[in-house]
């Protein structure tokens, strides 16, 4: 399972021009992410962590270098193929949950399935199954404003699994949650990773995420500072008041 490479970057550089000046967000990133891995991208603000995350998620294109998702060069894809990639290959989880406000939990989960061409019945059945899997079987008809932050993030995780993607991209998934709920979300992502073998790539500041990660990629000044294997790092997690 862990042998196949699902994401590969080759000397990826990203330069933004801001106020007439060039800002080097990424300065040559070479990274291989294996299928089924749980990987965390960590680094301080401005390190290039989000830029790298957007590159491996097919959300942005590099100024130079290559990003391969499942051995397909993302830069070569046209708009239609990119949409297909986002719909079928990648599931996104956002810090701000990004539940479509006019839709119920079930409609949010089934939307990517509608885009993928599933029938209404197929989509509903799968949507309910996914919501049950994330513990929201009794909340299928709830609108986002009727759900807590943690529940909204669960809906987002169920939605990210809608089309059985190869990769889940989670952008600071616990950033807007309290400690307990954040831990629940991390455990849920890990459970998805274990059960379905989906590759989880997460940009995070949350140290709790390190414990479930197979590898941690540390970014600094647009370069990979180091890559730690989980087995090689010693993490001691304490408990904070109020945390289970």
């Amino acid at each position: 399972m862990l042998e196949q490479t699902i994401v590969r970057t080759k000397d990826v550089k990203k330069i933004y021009v801001m106020g007439g000046e060039e800002v080097h967000a990424l300065r040559g990133i070479n990274l291989e992410i294996r299928a089924g891995e749980y990987i965390s991208i960590m680094g301080p603000s401005g390190s290039g962590k989000s830029t790298l995350f957007n590159m491996v998620g097919g959300l942005d294109k590099p100024s130079s270098g290559k990003v391969y998702i499942d051995e397909v060069d993302v830069a070569q894809l046209d708009a239609y193929e990119l949409a297909w990639l986002r719909c079928r290959k990648i599931g996104y989880v956002f810090q701000t949950f990004n539940i479509i406000p006019v839709m119920t939990a079930l409609e949010n989960v089934t939307l990517p399935m509608v885009f993928a061409g599933l029938t209404a019945d197929e989509a509903r059945d799968k949507g309910v199954m996914l919501l049950e899997k994330v513990g929201l079987g009794d909340r299928v008809s709830h609108k986002p404003f009727e759900l807590s932050g943690g529940q909204q993030q669960r809906v987002a995780i169920a939605r990210s699994m809608a089309n059985d993607p190869a990769i889940i991209l989670a952008d600071e998934p616990t950033g807007n949650l309290d400690l307990t709920t954040g831990t629940d979300i991390i455990n849920l992502l890990k459970a998805m990773n274990n059960e379905s073998g989906v590759t989880v790539i997460s940009a995070t500041h949350d140290m709790k995420m390190l414990d479930v990660s197979d590898r941690i990629v540390w970014i600094r000044d647009g370069r990979i500072d180091r890559i730690d294997e989980r087995a090689n790092i010693d993490i001691k997690i304490g408990e904070v008041d109020g945390e289970r």
Binding site: S50, N54, L59, D60, D70, E71, V72, Q76, L77, D78, A79, Y80, E81, A83, W84, L85, R86, C87, R88, K89, Y92, F94, Q95, T96, N98, I100, P101, V102, M103, L111, P112, V114, F115, A116, G117, R159, D171
Partner: protein
């Protein structure tokens, strides 16, 4: 193209295309309007007022056209009393400022070009419709700006640019259709009230209600509906294209 530039060996295959069925797009658009009910009402406000104004002008002119034709028919009658009544009616029309020699509005050119009154009406109606157009465009652009996260998320979920355009144009069409209908009903009510005060309520629904009046009226209402629908869709094109061009990475933006 769909089937295949993504294929590398047997690794990736595009089985189904990316789709957004029309019934689903309509469902999403209606839900969006329902959820943002008050904003929709404000967006519709401009079109309601413009179409109500247009309906009032067209309705009044249709009525006057009916009266003019009635007066003309009466003047050609063999009955002396009827001829006298026809002259009296023409006199009333002149006093109200209507040109009884030619048509009052749409066919005015036949009688030697538009009258001053007609030209003024066209100018005012055009202005009202233009203001409604700008109002719709402004409201829709604001809506696009506010909904950056929703649009970005949809794109992350696989929405094509054309889906976003479809959703925004549908929303605008529904707003335009409803706003136009409300405007037409409102405009008709104002027209009837205004004419009732000028000519007496009984006269409007009795003596002067000629077939020609109804034909002109329905032509006018049809025109008002077309104007409302066209303005609503045209006003939404630029905002819809702006939304469609938004990059999926917008979904990651933190600021509200």
């Amino acid at each position: 193209m769909p089937e295949s530039q993504l294929i590398e060996g047997d690794q990736v295959r595009i089985g189904k295309q990316i789709v957004l069925p029309l019934h689903k797009a309509i469902e999403i658009s209606l839900k969006s309007l329902k959820t943002r009910f008050w904003r929709s009402i404000i967006t519709m406000g401009g079109i309601i007022l413009a179409i109500a104004f247009l309906t009032t002008i067209l309705g009044t002119n249709a009525f006057m056209e009916g009266l003019r034709l009635a007066a003309e028919a009466m003047r050609e009658s063999d009955d002396d009393d009827e001829r006298e009544a026809g002259k009296a009616l023409e006199e009333v029309l002149r006093r109200k400022g209507y040109d009884v020699a030619g048509s009052t509005f749409s066919e005015g050119a036949e009688g030697g070009g538009l009258t001053k009154r007609q030209a003024k009406e066209i100018w005012l109606v055009s202005l009202a419709v233009f203001v409604a157009f700008v109002g719709i465009m402004n409201a829709m652009l604001m809506s696009v700006t506010e909904r950056f996260r929703e649009i970005g998320t949809m794109k992350c979920l696989g929405a094509l640019d054309s889906f976003i355009v479809k959703l925004f144009l549908l929303e605008s069409s529904f707003q335009g259709a409803l706003g136009t209908l409300i405007g037409i009903v409102g405009g008709l009510i104002v027209t009837v009230l205004q004419l009732s005060i000028g000519f007496g309520f009984g006269n409007i629904f009795g003596r002067f209600l000629e077939v020609m009046f109804l034909v002109s009226l329905f032509k006018g209402l049809g025109l008002a509906f077309i104007v409302g629908a066209v303005v609503s869709v045209l006003g939404a094109i630029w905002p819809a294209l702006t939304a469609a061009k938004m990059q999926p990475v917008a979904a990651m933006r933190m600021e509200a």
